[in-house]
Symmetry: C2
Subunit: 212 residues, 2 copies
């Protein structure tokens, strides 16, 4: 279960912040990338990276040589940020312009996973998250590929979701102005796949058709 703490309690527009596990997980499962922040001598560092959520943990990976992963694998405090932007909110005044978004913040600490099977499973889960139903179609994973990968995970316990939905909140006095107001949806769309030179004459597999 997700726990609300002073660090995840927001003072500005607190109604936009929620501690519902299902909501947090739904945002994490839709997003492909997170930004992971950590600090050394109070100097913050941030890295965007792909991730997978599984039960109450968030998994990331990288090369065993990664400076970033080696910096956080000891379990120093990290802050993980995820944001999905749904639409631009266009009000009748500049001041009330806004953005409809769904975001998650997680405070946690890395745990390193050394087991071969766990690392191999992660690759399958990440691949299936990014391109659903593609795992069995691909050249099978090699043991050497698994071995040169570091896998870290973070418990999703001290976490919160923050979101804005709906139409502009214009001032009462502005609502009758003859100025257009509403939203502009800005979804991230998957467009038609583009084959590389090694795929000439190879049919686009079914799982890559109509992905959206």
């Amino acid at each position: 279960m997700i726990q609300q703490t002073p660090r995840t309690t927001t003072s500005r527009m607190p109604k936009r912040t929620q501690y519902d596990e299902e909501l947090v997980y739904s945002i994490l499962d839709e997003a492909l990338f997170c930004t992971i922040s950590y600090a050394i001598d109070n100097q913050p560092f941030s890295i965007p990276t792909a991730f997978v959520r599984k039960e109450n943990r968030l998994y990331i990976h990288g090369s065993v040589g990664s400076h970033f992963l080696r910096g956080i694998e000891s379990g120093i405090p990290v802050c993980i940020s995820v944001m999905l932007t749904d639409s631009l909110v266009v009000a009748k005044s500049a001041f009330h312009h806004s953005v409809n978004y769904r975001s998650v913040i997680i405070f946690s600490n890395a745990v390193k996973h050394e087991e071969f099977d766990e690392k191999a499973s992660f690759f399958q889960e990440l691949t299936e998250k990014i391109v659903p139903n593609s795992w069995d179609y691909l050249r099978p994973m090699k043991a050497s590929e698994v071995n040169k990968t570091t896998l870290l995970s973070f418990e999703i316990l001290e976490a919160s979701a923050r979101m804005r939905t709906g139409m502009p909140n214009d001032d009462e006095a502005d609502k009758e102005l003859p100025i257009w107001s509403g939203i502009i949806p800005i979804p991230s769309k998957r467009l038609t796949p583009v084959a590389d030179e090694n795929s000439v004459g190879i049919q686009l597999p079914e799982h890559l058709e109509n992905m959206q």
Copy 2:
């Protein structure tokens, strides 16, 4: 001019990292949101927020009551992260799956801007960035709205851009496999605007048509 420092020098795939001012600015000008990280007692915090670049500075704003802005306005070290995701890179093996992205990292410190005119200009620049050519159409900004806003900026000096472009880098031995490989573009598209209940009968202004 952007300066390369040990903190912005990457060890993994260094060719993906560049210190070109024009490239850094072009990514910042295309992205609407950044993630700002700071640390207190080595506990990192991250906040996604909208921003504007102007010359060699990045500007953010918020309520004068914002806990986050008050936490960083003293000039403590921050790390600003921006990422544009252009396409999913689908290789013949899971291991070589990747993402085409353009990202920027900036290490900097906040400066607070108290001047009314600077704050008012910021609103115009942010509004024009989010919805080009819309400023003159909107209800004019009120002095009270400017006064309840905090404006911070960050020098873009210790910064780097990191990007991946192009097709999958499959293993030589895999290139002849009859497995489809290529990219799936994932641009963030602006869709048809949706009017709210206060805009019934108001014509969509020209600057909101064909935004993409």
